[in-house]
Structures are given as structure tokens and as C-alpha cells.
Symmetry: C2
Subunit: 353 residues, 2 copies
């Protein structure tokens, strides 16, 4: 298959892969978390007629939405358009994504019996995602990496336990600390689901993966290492054999950077921690990704250029002090009201520096 | 006046003040942020018939609500029941506190003219607060400290600029970075308001103050030092002469601890950063306050005791490595669904250890 040939032969010359693996990229790789999303009029036009989950399970829509920011911004990576709960939905968990709220789980998981009743994910259940990956790879420029997408077990667990988005993760942390055997059983099942979801994407040919532990920043490092790392580390280990860059990201994770970087090749850094400080925390041998504050894109061209130059300088120092490479990104997702033209100009600037 | 005598004579023997000032407290001081709040049935009963702002400006209600957790839990400090926007409301800013939303500002502040039109705070406008402090001090046990309350300029600015609570502080940060002269004018005015509000409480006899920069954790250290610290530092400097412990707190402020501790006597630490690590970041000569994860209180007595012992051990190590003292607290406010009996038992345990 063409996508397979593309992946195996051209992989190492992609700027994103080169930066992640310690060779010299042909240009500074840049992409934006949530680049496929509400900042793009062409995305909003699609979503007027299609729900979120419907869009995630329709290969044609996934392909179109994933490619939109590549066409518009000339970014160095596409990221598979998906949602953290997609593999749960595919496995048969009764959930929906409610506009303005987020994922809503019909029957929250809080007991040993609940965990036992959690369905497993059969790769065929995410066949639409595999098909989308193949279609995207057939259309994607040869130098543009396709990044696979998955949520980490802790963030998945928080949705299942709380029944939806949460502010304080009270039930999640109570289960984690108060019933560690139930917790570990749940996290084990979720790690299995995440592994399967990533393997499907990797088999279909993605050039890298990013694991989003969106809410891990609610944990102390000690709690992260005790209750989360064993499961997330297993996810990363199980997909190591594919030889593609494995990116690990969460927001508000300054205290967790060393623990989160340990199993990964690339550590995502939010805007609160300078890239140089991130390297100090994670040690040498990891690439860094980030970390422009997404709100900078609202402050006018002079501030944007100043902040981009600062992040690029910080990235260069990070490399000089032991980072494998630097993938330019925001420190969190593109905010919905961001002007798409501003993103395009940011990419142009980054590619000239 | 009795409260004044109480403050000047008995001040240094209060466990909270002793811990903050480096002498040996008669028992480990403990209080809880938001201890006067929805976790108490007697608080909910009052609020059934009184709005938030109404409660904050009624000396009788402020007194009753402030004293409720002292009576129930035997904590070592009361904190003046108030809200971050109280001095803005008192000064004449058109705002309300909407249940389930938070503060809502009628006319957001975003231009030089808006800033010029912002009213100043006359001490007489918070006479009700001064009166409440006097009443509370007349009823408070001699060893129990009364902590004065104020929001820091950045958090106040974020409410005024965004028009209410915000998730990403887009407008706040755009003004901060894009129009620093307008920003600094606004922050200067807000620092003045905070200083006046604190001075009124200090003149009325509070034994300590805590400045809440609730949302400062959204900033990088570099941005905090550039745009916020000059103004907040002035607030702390202007009230230094009262000789009472000055506590500085924000959540998600691991990267900011050194900058936030610099002007203060006590640094509040959330649960993400171990107290020993906080001491490493802020250097010796500061007391630490915190930092039990508020969600621990939902995990059952064994986990609660284990975590309390861990925090107390960490506090002891913090003192051994340079901290002036340790004031036990949560790492953030009491969650509304917390069982009040659990808080009482936590205080009992802490006082026996």
C-alpha cells in the first residue's frame, strides 16, 4: 500500500520525525494542537451539519478535517482528527459528546463490577479510524507527518468515573486513593484500550503518536508515579516497536515532566515552564514540544513575533543543553476564537527563522 | 478598644502567628481555605436567605459566617468572610456575584478610558468590613488568629477585563502584553484598592492577611515577574508596617513560588508541589502553608490520616531545611461537598500529632 511505503521510506526525512529523533530537520517543524478545529471556517462549516462523534467515525470527514490545517497553514504535521473518548465509544461505552459540555457518560464507572463490565476494544471497532489514516496518508505531502491520537488512561478514567468533564476530580481521586485495586483494574483496562487504538493507527501507517493526558496536571508527582505511571508507561512500551516518535502531553504538568517524559520520546511542555527548564527536569535525550502561550496569538503581530522568537531561542538552548530536538507548538490547544490567518503567518515566520 | 489590645498583646502567642514568624507554636496551627462556606450546614442555612454580596457587606452576617468554622472545628485561624470583588463593589464598580457563575462585571475594563473611569476605594466604603472585623475579634478565642482577606491585582484585573470568570484569560493577557501602559495603569489602580482594603482590615485589628492571586497560575514566571510582581509586591510592601504575617496564595503556581514568596512572609503551596520542594524554590526565611489535596477528604479515614501525616512530615522537613514554620491547610479551598465532620476530625488529628 502506498501509505505504508510512504511511512517506511520517507519517515526519517520528515522535519517532525527528524527533530524527534535527533537528526537535523530540513526546517523547524511546527504544528498546533487543535489546529483542526474551530479556528478554521472550513471546519466550522463541516460541523454545522455533523456532530462530533459522527465526524470522528466517518473516514471521509476525518480525512477532510485532518487535512484542512495542512492545506491552509503548511504545518509540518497533521494530527488525526479524533476525540479522547472515541475508543471508548467504539468499544461500546454508552456516551455522547455534548456541545458546550464535553463527553457525557451514561453510567459512570465506580465499582469493581463496573470495571468488569467495561467492554474491551476490538481493532475492527475502530476500522473507520484505520481507513481514515490510510486516506489521509494518500493525500498528505510526503514531508508532512501524520500524528496518531489517543487519550491516556488517567484522563479516560476521569471521564468514566466522573461521568463527564470535572473540575476537581473528587470521585476519580477518591477511587484512586481509597480503592487502589479497583483503580488499577480500571487503569489496566483503559491502557489496553489505548494500546489497541494506537496500534490500529500505527498499523495503518501514522508517522508518530501523541498521547494526551489532558487532566494529569491535577495530580502531584507522587500520586502520578504511584497511580498513573505504571499504566501509561505500559502504553508507551507496547508501541515502542513501531519506531515512530511517541509524544506525551498534558497541561499544567510542570511537576510531572520527568515522570511523563520517561516513557516517551518527546515531551509536550505547556507555556508555564520554559523549554530550557523542561530539559533540566526531564534530563537529556528527550525532544521537547511547545510552548507558545495560545493567548499570545491575540496580542498583535509584534508581540507574536517577539514571543515566537523567544520560544525558538529557548528551543535552541534546550537542544544545546541536551534535548534531542524541538518541535514548535503551542503550550495548549488553539483557542476557538483564534484568527486562522494569524496561525498561517506564525508558521511562515517560524519557517524563516 | 478590646480588639486592638487583643491584637497587639496576644498576637505573638497565637499558633498561626508563631509559625509564621519563626517561634514555636503551642500546637500545630491549622485552618482551611473556604472553611466558612458550603461544607457547613449552618452556612448553607444563612445563604438560603441572603445573597453573597449582601452577606459580605452585613457585619452581623460576616461575623457569624466567619466564626462558624472556628466554633465547629477548633481551627487556629478564622479568615474574614468576604469575596475577591468586595472592594470593587464597595468602590462603585457595577458587578454582581451570580450563583453558579461567579462575579459578573457590567462593563468590562479594556481601554485607557475604562481604567481612568475606574472608581477609587474610600476606606469609608468598606466600613461594614471594618465593623465586622471588630465584632469578630470581640468574640474570637484569644489564641485564634483572624486573617484579613484580599484578592491580588492580577486576579481582580482578570475579572474586570474578562467581565467575569475566565478559562483562558485571553483578553487579560492580550491587554497585558499588547498594551502594557494601559495594563500597568489598571494594575496600579487595583493595587491601590487592595492596599486600602487591607489597611482597613489591619486598622480594625486583623492578626494576619492573606492575598489571593487565584488565577496567577495561568502565567509563566517571566510574565508574572514582568507584568504582575511590581504591583503585588507594592501591596505587600505597603502593609509591611503592621508587622503581621502576610500570606500569599494562588493555585497552580508551582512555577511562581519564588516570585510570589519574595514579598510575603508565608507562601501558600498547592498540593502539586511538596512543601520541601517549595522551600527549595523560595529559599529559606519564609513559612509555608498547605498543602493537603482537598479531594483527600473524600477518600476515607485511613487515607486521610496517611495523607495528613505525610503533609506534617513534609512540613517538618521543610522547617528543617529552612522554612520559618508550617501552617497546615489544604492546597486549595474546601470543596463544597466535603463532610464537615471530616474537617473537624482532621483538625483533631493534626492537633494531636
Amino acid at each position: 500500500m502506498s501509505h505504508s511505503q510512504r511511512t517506511r521510506s520517507g519517515h526519517a526525512t520528515m522535519p517532525l520525525v527528524a527533530a524527534a529523533q535527533g537528526s537535523t530537520p530540513s526546517r523547524r517543524p511546527v504544528w498546533f494542537m487543535r489546529q483542526a478545529g474551530r479556528s478554521l471556517p472550513e471546519y466550522r462549516a463541516i460541523r454545522e451539519n455533523h456532530g462530533m462523534l459522527e465526524s470522528c467515525f466517518d473516514p471521509e470527514l476525518v480525512t477532510e478535517i485532518t487535512l484542512q490545517p495542512v492545506r491552509r497553514h503548511d504545518v509540518d504535521a497533521a494530527i488525526l482528527f479524533s476525540d479522547i473518548v472515541v475508543p471508548l465509544k467504539a468499544a461500546g461505552v454508552d456516551l455522547d459528546i455534548v456541545a458546550g459540555t464535553g463527553p457525557v457518560i451514561a453510567a459512570p464507572i465506580r465499582t469493581e463490577a463496573d470495571v468488569a463490565g467495561l467492554p474491551r476494544l476490538d481493532p475492527a471497532q475502530v476500522g473507520a479510524v484505520a481507513h481514515a489514516v490510510e486516506r489521509i496518508l494518500a493525500e498528505l505531502p510526503a514531508e508532512t507527518a501524520l500524528i496518531g491520537f489517543a487519550g491516556a488512561p488517567f484522563t479516560l478514567a476521569s471521564y468514566l468515573i466522573e461521568g463527564g468533564p470535572s473540575r476537581n476530580y473528587v470521585n476519580t481521586k477518591a477511587l484512586m486513593r481509597g480503592a487502589p485495586e479497583v483503580w488499577n483494574a480500571l487503569m489496566g483496562r483503559l491502557a489496553d484500550i489505548t494500546i489497541t487504538f494506537l496500534q490500529v493507527q500505527l498499523e495503518a501507517g501514522v508517522d508518530a503518536i501523541q498521547v494526551f493526558d489532558s487532566w494529569a496536571g491535577a495530580l502531584s508527582e507522587a500520586d502520578y508515579r504511584t497511580y498513573v505511571a505504571p499504566h501509561t508507561d505500559r502504553v508507551f512500551a507496547e508501541v515502542a516497536g513501531y519506531g515512530v516518535p511517541r509524544i506525551h502531553f498534558g497541561v499544567g504538568t510542570g511537576e510531572l515532566l520527568a515522570a511523563m517524559a520517561a516513557p516517551a520520546d518527546v515531551i509536550g511542555v505547556d507555556w508555564r515552564v520554559p523549554l530550557t527548564e523542561a530539559v533540566r527536569r526531564v534530563g537529556p535525550g528527550k525532544a521537547v514540544q511547545g510552548n507558545l502561550d495560545p493567548t499570545v496569538l491575540f496580542a498583535g503581530p509584534q508581540v507574536i513575533e517577539r514571543e515566537i522568537r523567544r520560544v525558538l531561542d529557548d528551543g535552541a538552548t534546550a537542544i544545546a543543553t541536551g534535548a534531542t530536538g524541538h518541535i514548535v507548538n503551542l503550550g495548549h490547544g488553539v483557542l476557538p476564537d483564534t484568527d486562522a490567518k494569524v496561525l498561517t503567518r506564525a508558521v511562515e515566520l517560524i519557517h524563516t527563522l
